[in-house]
Symmetry: C2
Subunit: 392 residues, 2 copies
Amino acid sequence: MNAFMDIQVHAQMLADQERMQSYRDALHEVVQKDDVVVDFGTGTGVLAAFACQAGAARVYAIERLPIVEVARATVAASGFADRVVFYEQDFATVDLPQRADVLVSETLGSFGVGETSFGTLVDCRERMLRQSGRMIPHRVRLFAAPVSAPEFYDLLSFAATQRFGLDLAAAKELALNQHQGTHITTTQCLSPAIPLCAINLATVDRSTADRLDIQVDFPLEKEGTVHGIAGWFEADLTPSVTLSNAPTRRPSSWQHSFFPLLQPVALIGGEHLTLRLRMDCLDTDHFIWRWDSRIARVEHGIRVMVAHFQQDSFRGRIISRNPLRSTAPAYAPRSTPDGEVTRFLLEHVDGTQTEEDLIALWHRQHPPTTAPDQRSRLQRLIRRALVLGDIA
Amino acid sequence: MNAFMDIQVHAQMLADQERMQSYRDALHEVVQKDDVVVDFGTGTGVLAAFACQAGAARVYAIERLPIVEVARATVAASGFADRVVFYEQDFATVDLPQRADVLVSETLGSFGVGETSFGTLVDCRERMLRQSGRMIPHRVRLFAAPVSAPEFYDLLSFAATQRFGLDLAAAKELALNQHQGTHITTTQCLSPAIPLCAINLATVDRSTADRLDIQVDFPLEKEGTVHGIAGWFEADLTPSVTLSNAPTRRPSSWQHSFFPLLQPVALIGGEHLTLRLRMDCLDTDHFIWRWDSRIARVEHGIRVMVAHFQQDSFRGRIISRNPLRSTAPAYAPRSTPDGEVTRFLLEHVDGTQTEEDLIALWHRQHPPTTAPDQRSRLQRLIRRALVLGDIA
C-alpha cells in the first residue's frame, strides 16, 4: 500500500503547523488575483484551497491516488468547488486547457527528493507553466552530516537477534544498503552540516534534475562512533519563505534520511569522512542511491585510510528470485492461465458487453466442467483490469 | 507497498526480545525431535530456524512476499538449509507432501487479528496439520478499555488545520471510521480492561473464527474525557508461554488498536460505556470493523443517554469515484491504450519471443511516428504482466 493511502500520514502532515503556514504564506505571496494555479499531487487538497484563499481564479489539482476524494470534499466544504478542477490521474497523462501562472507542489521527501523526482516537477513546469510563471518551491538545497546513532544502527544491523543463535547477515546487508527514515538530533551530528547542492527547480532541465553526483569532505571534530550520514533539505518556497527539516529547527512531520555505514567506525579525533553521493532516477518515484564513504586520518604526517565502504540501494532491494530470471535478454515469456483470461477480456470488452455478458461468453467458449472456478477468476480479472487501467 | 516489504518493520519485530524469546521457548516446548513443522508467513525465517534448533526434521515455510529471500539466506547461514522447504506463494495454493506435527505462525496484529484472519490459520490447520497436531499460538484473547487520548484524537480529527480556514470534515469522517495504531499507556485507560473473547485456534471452525460480535459494558470510573476504545491481545503460544501487547506490560513491537469515538465525551463520573464490536472478514487480510458505543449515566434513578455513535471501517475507506461506477451491473467496460498493448502481448508471448522480439513486432505493426514512446510502454507492460502472473 502506498503510504499516502493512509489517512494517518496525511493527518501528521496537516498537523505540522510550520509546513502549513509556510505553504500558505508562500501562496499568498506568489498568487495574484485571478491567477491560474497547478497543484501537483494535491493529496487532501489544502494547497488548492490555499491558492483559492489567495485569489486564484482557477486551480488544476492533480492527484493519482483515491485521497483525491478528500480533496474534492475539502475544497467544496471550504467554498471553492467552482474554482478547482481535479485530474484523478498520473500527471503524465494530464493535458491542461491553459498554461498556469503558478505551479505549486509539496512532494518533498525527508532528503528533499523523495515522493517524486525533481525531474517530474521540471516536466510539469515545461508542460503546464507559462514562460516566467512562478514555482513553489523554486529551489531545494540538500544538507548532510555524519552522525552517531547507536540504537538505530543496532536495529538496522539486527544486533538484538544475536542471542538467539541466528545469522541475519542477509537481512543486515539489505538494511544497510537502504537509506532509512529516522529522527536525528543536533547532538548526534559529528561535524557541522555541509550543503551538498542547490537544485533550482525554476530553471534546471530534466536530465540534470534527475541525477546527483556530489563529493564532500566532513572534518570529524568530535570523538565518538560514526554510524552513518544524515541528510535533510531546505526548500525555498519563495524568496522570503523557507521550509526545512534541519535538526537545528523544531521537529517536523519529515524524518531525516539516514545512510548507514556498513560498519560503525570509532573515532579518536582528527579523522575526515569523504562522501561521494550519487542518485539516479529510474522513473517518477524510483531512485537508485549510491554512497561511497572513506574515513581517513593523518598520523605522523601520513594519511591513513581507516575505512572505505561502497553501498547502494540496489543491493538494498528485497527481490525474489522468480521475477529475476525473466529479466535476462534472451528470456522468452509465455502466457499463463490468468493471462489467457485477460487476453479474452481485452479481446471482448468493447463498451457494449457487461461483466455478466463477458462471463456468459466465456462459458460458451469454455465448458464449465474443465474449469469450475472460472466465474470468480473472470470477476477478479475484470476488477484488476479496471484498477490497472487496461479497461475503463 | 505492503508494510512487510520494509526491512525496518522486520528489524523492529526482531528487536522485540520478549516476542523472540516467547516464540523460541514455545517451539522448544512443543517441537519434538524429528517433527514436521509448518511455518505460516515465515518472513525473515526466524521461526523456521527456531523450529530446527528445537529438533524439527522438516520445516515447510510459507511466504508470499519477496522477504522469503531473506528467510532462505538466514536459514542457510544458520545451518538449516537441508531441513527447510520454502513455498514462495499464497498459502491457498500450497499443497504439502505430508501433514505436519506443529503449525506455527506469528501473524498477530495489534488487536490479535490483523496480518491475516484467524480463519486463514484455521484453513492452514485443516489442510496442513495432522489430527492432534499442535498449534502455536493455540488461543488468542482480545481485551479492550475506554481511553483518554487527546493528542492522538486531535491528530485524527485534524484539529490543527482549523486555524487555516479549511474544512476537513470529510477527512475527519474517514479517519474516525478507521481503527488506528497507536501506543496507549495504563494511565490513559478510564476503566479496567475487559476481556472480550477467547478464540481457540486449535478447535474453532473457519466461519466462527472469521466473525466477532461482542457486547461489553465498561464502568467509567475516572473523571476525564473519553476519546475512544483501545484494544490489544494475549496469545497463548503454549499452555505455559503467553505473549501480549497489553499496556500493563513492557512496550512491545506491536502498537495498540484505537477505535475513536465520533466526538470526545467529557465524563463527570458514574457513566457506563456499552460497546458492541463486530468484525467480519472479507478475505484473508481484509476486515470490516463496526463499533457502536453508547455512553449513559444514571441521574435521579433515571438512565440518561449521553452519547451514541455508530462507526464502521467501510466508511473509513478512501475510495475514488472512478472504480465505483464500474461496479454497476449494467456497466460495459472498453479497452484502453494500455489494454491494447497488453492484448498484443498476450496474443504473442509463446515461449519463443524475447522482449526485443515483441517490441520489434509491435513496431512493424504500428508505425513509430504515431506513438513515439511505445518502447518504454511495452517494456513496462511486459514487466507488469510478469509481476501480475499473466505471463511467466
